[in-house]
């Protein structure tokens, strides 16, 4: 099984150190979510795992080989990355975009092999985009567009799929659709998914493994049920919250406590609701 891990990883933008000496192993075949506040370094870490950012120190290992010593094409055959809000040129159809995912598998004279064609069709089917395949991207809704990009990453046929905030700018219905799709891809094809997510509750519901970051350090990692506590949320996000059981998924659900809109504290959650009616 393919593995992905970071070893003593140090990352910086210009002169500002964002991450210093981080250790991380991505569990193979699972969904891992990176969570944390804005500026906690989660997107930076994801970019480094996908070799988009060169580390100041340490390395990222794909199957025990440092990805910066491999050819970028070789990495691209094993690891796909979907950056945050990517954009395509005007008029590009869904099928054309998805076909771009085959780029690392193509050679000078082999530009469109049988494999290429099959993988593109499979990716369109898996994302249920077949009906929209010949539509230009800009005529689609935000959610459909994001699914087209995911289909492109799928066509890349990689063991690892890295996604930077795949649900940003989507409404709640499309957010669920995209997350369900990623869950299916993981369950059905065993792809390892690593994504940055803003919403801790969605991360708890959809990820097997959570990595909580604060100021470039891993504060906690493990299954959501293990690590999502009121104390962790305080340390990672700097807010007070109550953790209840998600009535739908059974995973931890974080209900933040703000300065306003709070009823009297009651140990019983139901009593709180009664209190609100009063």
């Amino acid at each position: 099984m393919a593995t992905l891990r970071a070893e003593a990883l140090s990352l910086a933008y210009e002169k500002t150190m964002v991450i210093d000496g981080l250790q991380l192993a991505i569990p193979t075949g699972r969904i891992t979510a990176l969570v944390g506040r804005n500026g906690s370094g989660k997107s930076t870490l994801l970019r480094a795992l996908a070799r988009l950012l060169k580390p100041q120190g340490g390395a990222v290992f794909l199957d025990n080989v440092s990805i910066f010593t491999m050819s970028t094409r070789e990495v691209a055959r094993q690891l796909g990355i979907l950056p945050q809000s990517p954009s395509a040129p005007e008029g590009v159809t869904v099928r054309e975009l998805v076909a771009q995912g085959r780029y690392p598998h193509q050679r000078w004279l082999q530009r469109w092999s049988k494999d290429d064609e099959e993988m593109v069709e499979r990716a369109l089917v898996a994302t249920s985009m077949t009906g929209l395949a010949d539509r230009p991207l800009e005529t689609l809704s935000g959610g459909q567009r994001q699914k087209a990009w995911i289909a492109m990453a799928l066509a890349q046929e990689t063991a690892f799929m890295l996604l930077d905030e795949p649900t940003t700018f989507l409404d709640i219905a499309h957010q669920m659709e995209v997350l369900d799709l990623l869950y299916d891809l993981n369950a059905g094809e065993g792809r390892t998914v690593v994504m940055v997510l803003h919403d801790l509750n969605q991360a708890s519901r959809y990820a097997h493994h959570l990595v909580a970051l604060r100021e470039g350090c891993v504060v906690a990692e493990g299954t959501p049920a293990e690590i999502v506590t009121e104390d962790l949320v305080r340390r990672v996000f700097g807010i007070e919250c109550r953790i209840v059981v998600d009535p739908v998924a059974g995973t931890p659900l974080c209900v933040p406590v703000g300065r306003h809109g709070t009823v009297e504290r009651s140990d019983d959650h139901a009593a709180g609701l009664v209190g609100m009616k009063r």
């Binding site: 970019r47 996908a50 070799r51 988009l52 050819s71 970028t72 094409r73 070789e74 990495v75 691209a76 055959r77 796909g80 990355i81 979907l82 950056p83 990517p86 954009s87 395509a88 040129p89 005007e90 008029g91 590009v92 159809t93 099928r95 054309e96 975009l97 771009q100 995912g101 780029y103 690392p104 193509q106 000078w108 004279l109 082999q110 530009r111 469109w112 092999s113 049988k114 290429d116 064609e117 395949a133 010949d134 230009p136 890349q156």
Partner: protein, 349 residues
């Protein structure tokens, strides 16, 4: 419906796909171009009817007509086609790399760099063969491209920054040209000024072959790199994620684009400079025709660019006949309003 024509061979291992719509558009543009060329060849002080033109082209018919057509008029219109095609491919590459519809060679200073070098050669090195002009123009264009690349692209760049820096560098190059024109020998300056308007007037077979060889090197390179260009159009992060060695591939594409501007400029002058004409418009036309800034655009843009220039040469000749307007002037007259239209239409260039 899938409109791709797939071609696969087992021996040798080969596979690619063609956009059927692009193939059809190229065929239509080719026919149109041939038609306009025949009309263009027929026009002049010694008019020849289209059937006679075709006869002369095929080597039959009247001997005088054959001489006028084959020796005097055909090279001119073929040069116009090559110039237009080269500039169009160059513009398509640049606009794709910069991900900005304004990044035409005429606008971001590449043409200005080629122009500067060529004017220097014409004004100050009088005793020189025209064969050196493409190389001088290429050197000038490369120098400008290198400066732009260092200033705008080193740290990863936005298209608009590239365009603005390019316009600035183009202005500097233009200032130096003005200085050279003011200082130079009057006879040479007149020659340079005529050249700077941009024209295919009096082009010979020698110039045609020169340009053809130049384009025969760099156009296939552009087509070979079109897959790389398509990936780079998706943005640096996506391209890198897909396994593109972006610095290297962008460098190669930039070099190709610069060469495809330098050659035409060396032969026909900086056509449409500084407003952008073929290099600006042809890629947009290709996108409109194919409906996509993607597969097939390079070839469609090349055909459209060739047609545009052959057509503007024709228009320049008939508009105030018997006075001829150089196609460069026609280019500027069309290019400037088109640029304003582009700026007006797009809010986020």
């Amino acid at each position: 419906m899938n409109r791709w024509l797939v071609i696969r061979l087992r021996q040798p291992g080969l596979s690619f796909r063609l956009d059927l719509r692009a193939v059809a558009i190229i065929a239509i543009l080719g026919l149109l171009t041939a038609g306009v060329m025949v009309i263009n060849i027929g026009l002049g002080e010694y008019p020849i009817s289209p059937p006679d033109v075709i006869r002369a082209l095929l080597g039959t018919g009247d001997e005088t007509q054959r001489f006028v057509v084959q020796t005097l008029r055909v090279p001119r219109t073929l040069v116009a086609f090559l110039v237009g095609g080269g500039l169009a491919v160059s513009g398509t590459i640049l606009q794709g790399l910069a991900r900005n519809p304004l990044a035409a060679p005429e606008i971001i200073g590449i043409t200005a760099g080629a122009n500067l070098a060529a004017v220097m050669v014409v004004v100050f090195i009088t005793s020189i063969s025209i064969t050196i002009l493409p190389f001088a123009a290429f050197a000038g264009a490369i120098a400008v491209a290198a400066v732009i690349y260092i200033l705008a692209w080193k740290q990863g760049s936005t298209g608009s920054r590239l365009v603005l820096i390019g316009i600035g560098i183009g202005a500097i190059a233009h200032a130096v040209v003005t200085l050279a024109l003011a200082e130079g020998d009057i006879y040479q300056v007149t020659k340079a000024l005529t050249w700077m308007t941009g024209s295919v007037y009096g082009k010979t077979w020698e110039e045609f072959w020169l340009l053809l060889v130049w384009l025969a090197i760099f156009t296939p390179m552009a087509f070979l790199l079109s897959g790389q260009l398509n990936v780079l159009r998706l943005g640096d992060d996506v391209a890198r994620g897909l396994g593109s060695r972006i610095e290297w591939e962008r460098g190669l594409l930039l070099l190709t684009s610069v060469a495809l501007t330098a050659g035409p400029v060396a032969v026909a002058g900086p056509i449409g400079y500084p407003f952008g004409f073929v290099g600006l418009m042809a890629p947009h036309i290709a996108v409109r025709l194919t409906g996509s800034a993607h597969s097939g655009t390079l070839a469609v843009a090349a055909m459209a660019g060739g047609l545009i220039l052959v057509l503007s040469d024709l228009v320049g000749r008939v508009l105030f006949a018997p006075v001829e307007i150089p196609c460069g002037a026609i280019a500027a007259a069309v290019g400037a309003p088109y640029l304003i239209y582009l700026l007006y239409r797009s809010r986020n260039v």
